[in-house]
């Protein structure tokens, strides 16, 4: 920085810094607030004493939440659904995107249109439930993993990316005796790592946050993902005006402890994967 700052640019920078700090505060404070409530004493929380620092520090809320055996099993389930689900997603999406990216596929346009229609016109909950039920997937992990195996939108992003791989590479691979599977596995996928990484990210976050299919398709609570447990504590346990059961509502600090437990892994991982999210937003943007 050889140049001296003019007053104008200095004040401009100052305003920007102040604005950004204010924004950062606005984003971080709610998170921080959940954190301090979860370790504060319930009565102080109700009196509204907790604003900046925890009052009456204790881990009671966490102890109570973690004493619920379902919290840990559901955590394991979420990891399983996210891991296996994302794997199935990426494999299925790639297997669908690859043929659609090849111009020599017979009826490519028709298939593409048919697939896109499913994106625009959705069957709705009841028909989907009937299909899942008839396939005997109810109350099994597959009800969570198979129905959302391919997200059409992500598949199109992937297809667009595959299309940008020069055709000459395919031709020369054919000359060397490779078939489509080999080309996909040995050439296309290694060349498409950015888009694969993005897909993994998108799908994984989707699985992590998903609760609705689990509440509809799963019967046994030992199969529930952690989001279902969270929802049952935070939403169903909240005070309603019409309720005569207010006495038995769940204590605020317990709800907040549960929220912390659920989001902590994502918070820890996020700073490291955040740059892929930024990249991912650009991947698949229209390039012809």
């Amino acid at each position: 920085m050889g140049k001296r700052m003019t007053l104008g640019s200095f004040s401009f920078d100052a305003v920007i810094y102040i604005l950004l700090t204010a924004m950062m505060f606005a984003f971080l404070y709610p998170l921080y607030y959940i954190g301090i409530i979860s370790v504060s004493d319930g009565i102080s929380v109700m009196r509204g004493d907790v604003k900046w620092f925890p009052v009456g520090w204790n881990w009671e809320a966490y102890r109570t939440v973690l004493a619920n055996p379902l919290v840990l099993t559901s955590y394991g389930n979420t990891l399983l659904y996210t891991g296996l689900g994302t794997f199935v997603n990426v494999v299925a999406t790639a297997l669908c995107a690859y043929p659609l990216s090849r111009s020599r596929l017979y009826g490519r346009k028709v298939f593409t249109v048919l697939i896109i229609i499913t994106m625009l016109v959705h069957g709705g909950m009841i028909p989907t439930y009937i299909v899942v039920n008839s396939l005997g997937l109810l109350n099994s992990i597959w009800a969570i993993i198979i129905p959302p195996a391919i997200n059409v939108w992500y598949m199109i992003i992937m297809r667009t990316f595959f299309q940008n791989i020069p055709n000459e590479i395919h031709e020369s691979a054919f000359m060397d005796g490779a078939n489509d599977l080999v080309i996909l596995w040995r050439l296309v996928l290694p060349l498409s790592l950015p888009v694969i990484a993005t897909m993994v990210m998108f799908y994984a976050v989707w699985h992590w946050n998903s609760f609705f299919p689990a509440t509809i398709y799963l019967h046994e609570n030992k199969l529930y993902p952690v989001q279902v447990i969270l929802r049952s504590m935070v939403i169903d346990g909240s005070v309603q005006a019409d309720s005569s059961r207010d006495l038995t509502t769940i204590v605020t600090s317990m709800k907040y402890a549960m929220i912390m437990i659920t989001i902590l892994p994502i918070i820890c991982v996020y700073p490291f994967i955040q740059k892929y999210f930024v990249k991912g937003a650009m991947v698949g943007s229209l390039k012809g």
């Binding site: 009841i126 439930y129 509440t215 504590m233 005006a241 006495l247 317990m254």
Partner: protein, 529 residues
């Protein structure tokens, strides 16, 4: 090119339609876990409810902490009745789950349908549920209760019973009731207000002594403020059942001149800053904060909150104490107040396709018997409770076991798998009273009909045509009421305008709503004769 792609779209949509149709018409949904006859291990004993052991698959709601479905209480139920309960409890989003199951006609043997679910009557008419009227001989216990508790009639569809109701056999009665800092009354040398006029004077004195305080606070806007207050002041908020008019009839409160007095009173409190200036936007948490930090002294809402406020106040002011006031007389000479409804009236329905309908009916009726009620609310005699002078008393060991958990009531009931939160159709809340702070039981003794309390009632059952009409009418009238109540209370619209407002409500159909309610009510009364 264009025509080609259109063709593709067309053929594709037709395919989709075909697929959807075949999915719906095929009624052959796999039965899932239906009532299979369990292996007969113990042989049939004479004193059991059923001769042969069966398993009943029941879908119901769960709470947190999760209900322990492996509790010895369920083994004990099997021992007593030969029924093995296969409980499937959904932790969250139950309303949508239940609706999906009903819509796809894939019911388990028995499932819970929350009270007020709009699809219940439709499904009953379509024959999805077992009509219980065909099994009246197997329902001695429920029939006996139904003779006394007429509210159950409201669960009927076209005069027929399709569901086992969730009843409150004994409740730790709560109400939206007047709760005041009685220590301040003493401090200011005031006596307990006996009329609403005296209440106004008391609030005024409090404000004079503590000018920074908010004497009266509330939560969730005008609707929740007026719900108890309007009835106590001689009218009622929106559609309500007024026992004082023509021997009891449904009335739209705001559409009658009696409501003006309510608004006059509330407006007076607001104008003199006795009512929270933020009453219209207060959330539940904000209200609780004000009351438990000693900034507000009076509220007219769920009395059980008072327990928490008292604990919170104790730290800063050992004398501070919220107590339930005796009901106050209004200007019309009435002393009356709502208390929360006696029953929940959630439905437990038996699938029309269930394999052992007669046995299931017998078992569910048993749940209302003395024995069934005891077991499903207290657990096993000798282990979880003992009988003292004909009354069940929870064993010390059980109370001790859960005393140190953060929420003893929930943990006790859900670990044992008993009570309202777990599995009971005839709910006895004595266990709740035992583990709750003593004030609640004391207050519950005051919340009785003798002191002027009236049970809130459920809506009478409507025909589908009536429901459709009500929906349109109520959305119009209720919206109008929502918009204008705050204006009258705050004073941006003068009360001299109220007669005009009544006319507006009548023009929008308030009286038609009343008529639909009362017709349905009369019909219900005739059916139940």
């Amino acid at each position: 090119m264009k025509t080609k792609s259109w063709l593709a779209v067309l053929s594709c949509t037709s395919l989709l339609v075909l697929a959807a149709c075949s999915g719906n018409s095929g009624d052959s949904v796999p039965p899932g876990k239906s009532s299979a006859v369990a292996p007969q291990t113990e042989g049939s004993k004479g004193n059991k409810l059923l001769d042969k052991p069966i398993t009943i698959h029941v879908l119901s709601t769960d709470t947190s902490p999760p209900v322990n479905t492996k509790s010895p209480v369920f083994d004990y139920i099997f021992e007593r009745t030969n029924v093995r309960l296969d409980l499937e409890l959904a932790a969250t989003n139950y309303a949508q789950r239940a609706q999906t199951i009903v819509a796809t006609n894939s019911l388990p043997d028995v499932m819970k349908i929350p009270n007020g679910s709009p699809y219940f009557a439709e499904a009953a008419k379509n024959g999805l549920f077992l009509p219980l009227d065909d099994y009246m001989a197997d329902l001695p216990n429920l029939s006996k209760i139904m003779k006394q508790d007429k509210e159950i009639e409201k669960n009927k569809v076209d005069g027929k019973l399709y569901s086992f109701p969730v009843l409150g056999q004994w409740k730790l009665q709560l109400a939206q009731a007047p709760m005041m800092r009685v220590d301040l009354l003493q401090e200011l040398g005031l006596s307990v207000p006996k009329t609403f006029n005296e209440l106004y004077q008391v609030l005024k004195k409090m404000k004079e002594k503590y000018p920074d305080s908010i004497p009266f606070t509330s939560r969730e806007g005008a609707k929740n403020l007026l719900r108890p207050l309007a009835f106590a002041l001689g009218s009622g908020n929106r559609m309500y059942f007024d026992p004082a008019i023509d021997g009891g009839k449904y009335v739209y409160g705001q559409a009658h001149p009696e409501f003006k007095a309510v608004l006059e009173y509330v407006h007076k409190l607001y104008a003199e800053k006795l009512l929270d200036p933020d009453y219209a936007v207060n959330t539940g948490d904000q209200m609780k904060e004000k009351l438990s930090a000693g900034k507000a002294f009076f509220y007219y809402d769920n009395n059980s909150f008072g327990v928490n406020f008292n604990t919170a106040l104790l730290a800063s002011n050992p004398k501070a104490k919220f107590d339930l006031l005796p009901l106050m007389q209004n200007d019309r000479g009435q002393t009356r107040n709502w208390m929360y409804a006696k029953d929940w009236l959630h439905h437990f329905v038996i699938s029309a396709k269930a394999k052992n309908p007669k046995e299931i009916v017998k078992f569910f009726d048993w749940l209302y018997s003395d024995e069934g009620t005891l077991i499903t609310n207290y657990g096993i005699e000798g282990k979880h409770f003992k009988m003292v002078g004909g009354k069940p008393v929870i064993e010390e060991s059980v109370i001790k076991e859960f005393a140190n958990t953060k929420d003893p009531y929930r943990y006790m009931q859900n670990t044992l798998g008993v009570g309202f939160l777990a599995f009971s159709l005839n709910v006895d809340e004595h266990p709740m009273a035992v583990v709750s702070p003593p004030e609640l039981s004391k207050w519950a003794e005051q919340i009785v009909p003798d002191k002027g309390y009236v049970y809130e009632l459920f809506d009478p059952p409507f025909t589908s045509a009536e429901s459709a009409k009500l929906k349109t009418l109520q959305s119009k009238v209720d919206t109008l009421v929502d918009q204008e109540m705050d204006k009258f209370i705050i004073g941006t619209r003068p009360l001299s305008d109220y007669d005009k407002f009544i006319q507006q409500l009548k023009d929008s159909g308030a009286l038609e709503i009343e008529k639909i309610y009362n017709d349905a009510y009369v019909r219900l009364m005739q059916q139940s004769k």
